[in-house]
């Protein structure tokens, strides 16, 4: 019964909430699709945190999605011990970078009064969930290795069964609780999209990854001197 709630009810509820409310927000408050950047308020910590977090999490997310969409391709990519180790260890390194980035995000909003002033409850919930999710992901990868391989025979068929509207929890029912939490945490994160600034991910701002940096020039010299 607990499995039905965790691995059937919550995933479907999360996706329905995400889709319905995202469309609702798009129809009614389109201008709110934004990361609500606080870069102009504080940039020295943010530039470290943001770069570390976004590059790491996007690569990790890509691996999760690729393996679920093309399990055959992923299996061939990992065939052979050395390739498995390279991909797994790279993933763990990226997870650590993501944890550092998220830690900096949270530290910045706690300690910088200007950033803290524009931080809502939703932001705190989002930061906490994302931190928990990457920490759980790293523990899963490290303690229960090699997840890049077993994902293909556990999480991938479970996700496929959800997409086919014929849910089968047997693939994930016997997993350790840390991994179960990571699975459920993924869907909780999806459910948070319409409620938080995470919605900025839906605009798929990938060109940020390679666009040149931009300078903001202040013309009020007074403010700079202060």
């Amino acid at each position: 019964m607990a499995d039905l709630v965790l691995f059937v009810a919550i995933p479907y509820a999360a996706v329905v909430v995400a889709v319905v409310l995202t469309l609702y927000r798009y129809a009614n408050n389109r201008f709110s699709y934004s990361s609500l950047s606080s870069q102009l308020l504080e940039n020295s910590v943010l530039s470290w945190a943001s770069v570390a977090w976004h590059y790491a999490i996007l690569l990790i997310l890509t691996a999760h999605v690729l393996a679920a969409l093309f399990p055959g391709l992923w299996a061939r990519l990992l065939g052979g011990q050395v390739r498995l180790y390279v991909i797994e260890i790279t993933g763990m390194g990226l997870a650590l970078i993501a944890i550092i980035g998220m830690g900096l995000f949270i530290w910045r909003r706690l300690t910088n009064p200007r950033a803290r002033a524009v931080t809502s409850t939703g932001d705190w919930v989002l930061l906490a969930v994302l931190l928990a999710q990457v920490v759980l992901g790293f523990i899963t990868a490290f303690v229960y290795r090699w997840g890049a391989l077993w994902y293909l025979q556990t999480a991938a068929p479970w996700l496929e069964s959800l997409v086919r509207l014929n849910p089968d929890t047997s693939y994930v029912a016997l997993m350790p609780w840390v991994i179960k939490l990571h699975f459920v945490g993924g869907f909780v994160t999806i459910a948070l999209i319409p409620f938080t600034r995470l919605s900025h991910a839906l605009t798929i701002p990938v060109s940020y990854l390679w666009r040149p940096y931009r300078l903001v020039i202040w013309n009020r010299r007074q403010a700079v001197r202060e």
């Binding site: 479907y12 609702y24 570390a52 260890i89 390194g93 970078i97």
Partner: protein, 281 residues
């Protein structure tokens, strides 16, 4: 235009529909009647991984004459829920568990009519079923081929997961195999030698492995190769968990350091003169 508040209602209705649709229990078809022939087929399907009739012990006991040896009610209960009987401390169950290397008999979730068929078969079964390993003309297992199958260097023909996804063994160098499942270094001794292990790999009954391999069974050659590889690695002592952890830990932090250096280099390339005053704001 639907008024604002009704949108939430619509969402709730959709949500309720999805959730109840997903939770609808599947209705099981009525089970067929039982007979010794059906029991034999069930025995082949569920039991031959660990049991023979007159062929000697494998991972589990030889079942020749088990119907006379055990009380029928006990046997029926045992086939229905061995896990619960062990948990409840049934004396015979505990004695069997200790005798067979603490390998618990998995609950196969048999229906009552399937159990009746199996009992009918066990009551009349003759020692005609040789053990899977001894009966067949011995397939020669190749330890190197077994290692390739174990690590995934060569895929299993039916598409099952490589063993190293979840299992470690001394036969692999650091950082070794997976840790989701148990270490398999000494598994040959526990499961009744190479022949016993082949049988176990032929009918995979471990609950967490059933969904992975039920539609992707190993071929007899793959069973033999893997058993040969595991028999070879059993000559070594199990790898140290600490050393394995430390290797992965060091490598992961090493990769993290490489990324951090990249981050620093990127940061240094930013024009400082323009950034500093901005950062101070």
């Amino acid at each position: 235009m639907i008024p604002k508040k009704k949108w939430w209602l619509l969402g709730l209705v959709l949500l309720a529909g999805f959730v109840s649709g997903g939770l609808l229990p599947s209705i099981q078809a009525a089970p067929p009647g039982q007979s010794a022939e059906e029991g034999e087929a069930l025995f082949q399907q569920y039991c031959t991984g660990c049991h023979t009739i007159g062929g000697g012990d494998l991972a589990g006991p030889d079942l020749l004459g088990v119907a006379e040896k055990r009380d029928p009610e006990w046997l029926e209960h045992w086939l229905a829920e061995p896990d619960k009987m062990i948990a409840d401390g049934d004396p015979i169950a505990l004695q069997l568990l200790a005798q067979y290397n603490n390998i618990p008999m998995p609950n196969q979730h048999l229906t009552l009519s399937e159990i009746d068929a199996l009992l009918a078969y066990l009551g009349v079964a003759q020692p005609s079923l040789p053990s899977p390993g001894a009966g067949q003309p011995a397939l020669a297992g190749n330890p190197q081929a077994g290692k390739d199958l174990f690590t995934g260097a060569k895929g299993l023909s039916a598409g099952g997961s490589a063993c190293a996804a979840c299992h470690d063994t001394a036969g692999l160098g650091a950082p070794g195999g997976g840790l989701l499942g148990p270490d398999l270094t000494q598994v040959v001794q526990r499961y009744g030698g190479e022949a016993g292990l082949r049988g176990t790999l032929g009918v995979i009954a471990f609950p967490s492995m059933v969904p992975v391999y039920r539609d992707r069974p190993l071929t007899p050659q793959e069973q033999a190769d893997l058993a040969a590889f595991l028999a070879q690695s059993a000559e070594q002592s199990p790898p140290s968990r600490g050393v394995r952890h430390l290797t992965v830990y060091a490598l992961a932090f090493g990769v993290m350091d490489i990324f951090l250096v990249g981050l620093f280099v990127w940061h240094r390339r930013l024009p400082r003169a323009a950034r500093r005053p901005l950062a101070r704001r």
